[in-house]
């Protein structure tokens, strides 16, 4: 079980983010959603999430700028980031460091849950 791990969803697709939130909450995660990278960074500062679900194309501050800032402020890979992306933007992801995994949109919630679970399992291992 997810024992109250905190997940931050950064996605401008508000309603879809809400669906993700409800799904994740039903699995026992604590979920906050914001609609752009700027708000995302503010949130990270306030509540130190255990995982970030990050959309790439967003207004105000996109996923790339968000990641750069996040890496600078909090250290690369400190908080695991799972990117939500369209298939044709995949290759650009690899120019970014500190991504834990990604999910291709439109995604299946089963796939998303499995990948989130896997991130936490990996992090749980003593390194």
């Amino acid at each position: 079980m997810a024992n109250g791990k905190k997940i931050l969803v950064v996605d401008d697709e508000e309603q879809l983010a809400l669906a993700v939130k409800i799904r994740l909450q039903s699995k026992g995660y604590q979920v906050t959603t914001v609609t752009d990278g700027r708000q995302g960074l503010d949130r990270v500062g306030k509540e130190a999430p255990d995982l970030i679900l990050l959309d790439v194309l967003m207004p105000v501050m996109d996923g790339y700028s968000f990641l750069r800032e996040l890496n600078q402020r909090h250290g690369r890979g400190k908080i695991p980031v799972l990117v939500l992306t369209a298939r044709d933007q995949l290759k650009e992801l690899f120019e970014l460091e500190g991504i834990e995994d990604y999910v291709i949109k439109p995604f299946d919630h089963e796939d998303l849950l499995v990948r989130i679970d896997r991130v936490f399992q990996r992090r749980a291992k003593p390194s």
Partner: protein
């Protein structure tokens, strides 16, 4: 053609009564009265007549009371441009005659001859009328290219322009001065040579001039030995096509986002996260879900068709077992079949061939066929799937016990928007009519074919045949394909090679089955990490290396992926029976075109990185009494970078083996003096050679029972004549797994 019975209306303009009389009497004598004649004395009255009466031909004296010389001709020709004119001259003046012909007369005649040769006048009249008509026709024909709004250009066989119509001059103002360098003329000579060689009638290409796109239809006109090009401006059409594509792509994208939201929330309600549901509510939500799926499928089909029609579909091929594709399809279609109590199964009798396909696309094709099969099969029917390797193809079959297809529908079955006639479609199941058309195109993109056979009332079988690939060619073709794609898109192709450096060490400490398991898990881990769209994993386990093909990624991105994979593999210990093992992974990356500009360079770089500088080469001894075979095998093995020794007989081989250490012996069975069996047993007796793997070479049809008697597992022999790839594969296999049959 003038009608022979028709009377020609002749107007004679002649002031001299004697000359006029000569003409009149000559024409009057002509048989069957073919001419009607009117005479005028001067130009003025002649023109009056021409203006009021129809005339076929004017016999014109140039020197008249009111006009003289060529001016007379000019006046008459100007006023009656459609009437034939024969100039009557008083003397045999060639100069004047030629000038008259140039200025619009059709013929001329010296008056002195009229009565001498009676037929001459008649001939001249008929000839002039005929010539005038041909002239008309020519002018009419010439107006086709001349007035054609599309550019038309003719060149000779060297590509030099010999004609262009006004539209061409207008649209390509520099065409005359640019000569062979003008885009429209460029390379025409080669195109023509090819058309001539292939005896093809035409060739269509696209050229760009002043930011407009033209379709150039090039014809080789063999009877005139010239090249004719018709150019059609397709700029607007292309722009519209582009807009249409963009529109459809945007629309379907915009449709998909709300659909995804709907789907997610319906899922949340159906899974009772938002509260408990009554059985009725659950059932209705099931219907909603099914229809969301249908809508999603239709949007995807529209998008697919748009992409297919604009040629923007690129295949992401990978190596995959047909069985796993079929299992996946059966798995995902089972609920649909179960709802109608249809038995859906895979024909297990045939072994599953390996495919080299775009898995997503072929899966989509087969799901479409299975979906149709279920749709048109009655409850408690049967749908069977199979895949079978045939001569040059791998053939999938989807067989149902359904309603069958009306023979009249067969020809149009795979066309766009064709719905079947005579078959009642289950309510709510009518699709876009694109499914089969898309399937056909996907299969054809693979170089395959699709067809159907059916007996109405009994059932149908749909066939999908895909070309078979030789495993040896596979990788090279795979890389070539990637390179072609990279060139076309002006992008990159990167290949990451991961070499497990301590592979040989591990091998000595592991059982073969354990080793296989380890390699399998490594491969699985990488595949998990690399997903389609991003790259492919190609495994060549001949000595512990994996290749990861990453399309369209620059060197930096490619190394980032490589680093991630290296960390993934070497970051943790693997639990094995004898204890934990850590992998030593060496990563190399090569990117086209950054690090290798040509295909050969790329493949060579790849090969070099795989081999590594200090990897010891395997040494192979070839034992064969035939010099040609020894030479042939030596060459192919050396190309693979093996170290090769040869022996011409059994004793020769044993002699060499007293000093030389080899990793593998390739042993021919039928040799004089000492045959292969004997050599084999001697090798197995000697402690120095008994653990060296031996690959037995037999001719096709040789008795194999003796081989069995030698306790050799079946994979340790090959048959002549050699199939190079099979031989190399076997050698790699034996070198990797060692010699199981040695009894050691």
């Amino acid at each position: 053609m003038p009608n022979p019975d028709e009377q020609l209306r002749v107007l004679l303009i002649e002031d001299n009564p004697l000359d006029a009389e000569a003409v009149q009497s000559t024409l009057a004598k002509a048989k069957g009265a073919p001419f009607s004649l009117v005479r005028k004395n001067e130009v003025k009255s002649g023109l009056l007549h021409l203006a009021s009466e129809p005339v076929d031909v004017v016999l014109l004296d140039l020197n008249l009371p009111d006009s003289s010389g060529l001016g007379t001709l000019a006046t008459v020709h100007d006023k009656a441009p459609d009437v034939a004119i024969v100039v009557l001259t008083s003397t045999d003046d060639e100069m004047l005659a030629v000038q008259a012909l140039e200025q619009g007369a059709q013929d001329y005649l010296a008056k002195g001859y009229i009565q001498v040769y009676r037929g001459l006048l008649e001939r001249a009249i008929r000839y002039a009328v005929q010539r005038k008509r041909v002239g008309h026709e020519l002018a009419r024909m010439a107006s086709f290219p001349e007035k054609n709004p599309h550019p038309i250009i003719e060149t000779d066989m060297t590509g030099t322009m010999t004609y262009c119509n006004p539209a061409a001059t207008e649209k390509f103002p520099t065409i005359a001065s640019h000569e062979l360098h003008h885009p429209v003329l460029a390379d025409l000579r080669n195109v023509a040579a090819q058309l001539q060689r292939d005896s093809q009638p035409d060739f269509v290409r696209e050229v760009f001039v002043d930011q407009r796109a033209y379709e150039q239809h090039i014809h080789y006109v063999s009877e005139h030995k010239l090249i004719r090009s018709y150019l059609i401006d397709v700029t607007d059409r292309k722009q519209i096509d582009h807009l249409k594509d963009e529109f459809l792509s945007t629309v379907s994208h915009e449709l998909r986002t709300p659909l995804a939201t709907i789907k997610e929330f319906i899922g949340i309600i159906a899974d009772q996260i938002a509260g408990p549901l009554t059985p009725d509510q659950q059932q209705y939500l099931g219907i909603v879900k099914a229809n969301i799926e249908r809508l999603a499928r239709m949007i995807n089909e529209l998008l697919d068709m748009t992409k297919l029609e604009s040629g923007r579909v690129v295949l992401n091929k990978e190596v995959i077992e047909a069985g796993s594709v079929l299992d996946h399809i059966i798995e995902s279609m089972r609920p649909l079949a179960a709802a109608k109590q249809i038995e859906l199964r895979r024909d297990p009798s045939v072994p599953s061939p390996t495919l080299f396909i775009d898995k997503d696309k072929i899966t989509q094709v087969l799901i479409n066929l299975v979906g149709n099969a279920i749709k048109f099969t009655k409850e408690r029917g049967r749908v069977t799937l199979s895949a079978q390797a045939e001569d040059r193809e791998i053939v999938f079959r989807v067989t149902d016990t359904g309603t069958g297809i009306d023979p009249r529908d067969m020809p149009r079955l795979f066309e766009k928007f064709s719905q079947l006639r005579g078959v009642p479609q289950p309510p709510g199941s009518i699709g876009t009519g694109l499914g089969l058309a898309i399937s056909k195109r996907f299969v054809e993109l693979h170089g395959g074919r699709v067809w159907a056979e059916s007996k109405p009332g009994t059932g149908s079988t749909f066939f999908v045949a895909l070309p078979k690939y030789d495993t040896g060619e596979l990788f090279t073709e795979y890389v070539r394909m990637g390179l072609a794609r990279a060139k076309q898109n002006k992008s990159h192709l990167s290949i990451i090679t991961l070499v497990i450096d301590n592979f040989d060490d591990l091998k000595t400490r592991c059982q073969p089955d354990e080793m296989r398991e380890l390699l399998g898990s490594i491969e699985h881990q990488i595949r998990e990490h690399i997903r389609i769209g991003e790259g492919d994993v190609v495994v060549r386990w001949h000595s512990g290396d994996v290749m990861v093909v990453v399309a369209d990624m620059d060197p930096a991105g490619c190394r980032a992926v490589g680093d991630r994979l290296t960390r993934l593999l070497s970051g943790h210990p693997y639990k094995l029976r004898h204890g934990d093992e850590q992998l030593a992974v060496v990563m190399h990356a090569v990117t086209f075109p950054d690090e290798a500009a040509t295909e050969e360079e790329f493949l060579r770089a790849l090969e070099q990185r795989l081999r590594g500088p200090d990897r010891p080469k395997a040494r192979i001894l070839i034992v064969d009494d035939e010099p040609k075979i020894r030479q042939f095998v030596r060459e192919i093995l050396e190309l693979q970078n093996y170290d090769v020794l040869t022996a011409a007989s059994g004793p020769d081989a044993l002699d060499q083996l007293r000093v030389a250490k080899v990793d593998l012996i390739l042993l021919d069975i039928s040799m004089p003096v000492m045959d292969g069996y004997e050599v084999y047993h001697l090798l197995k007796e000697h402690p120095r050679t008994k653990n060296v793997p031996v690959l037995i070479v037999t001719a096709q049809g040789e008795r194999s029972d003796r081989l069995m008697g030698m306790d050799t597992p079946s994979y340790n022999y090959v048959t002549k004549p050699f199939e190079v790839e099979a031989l190399l594969g076997k050698i790699r296999e034996v070198l990797q797994h060692g010699h199981k049959g040695s009894g050691a």
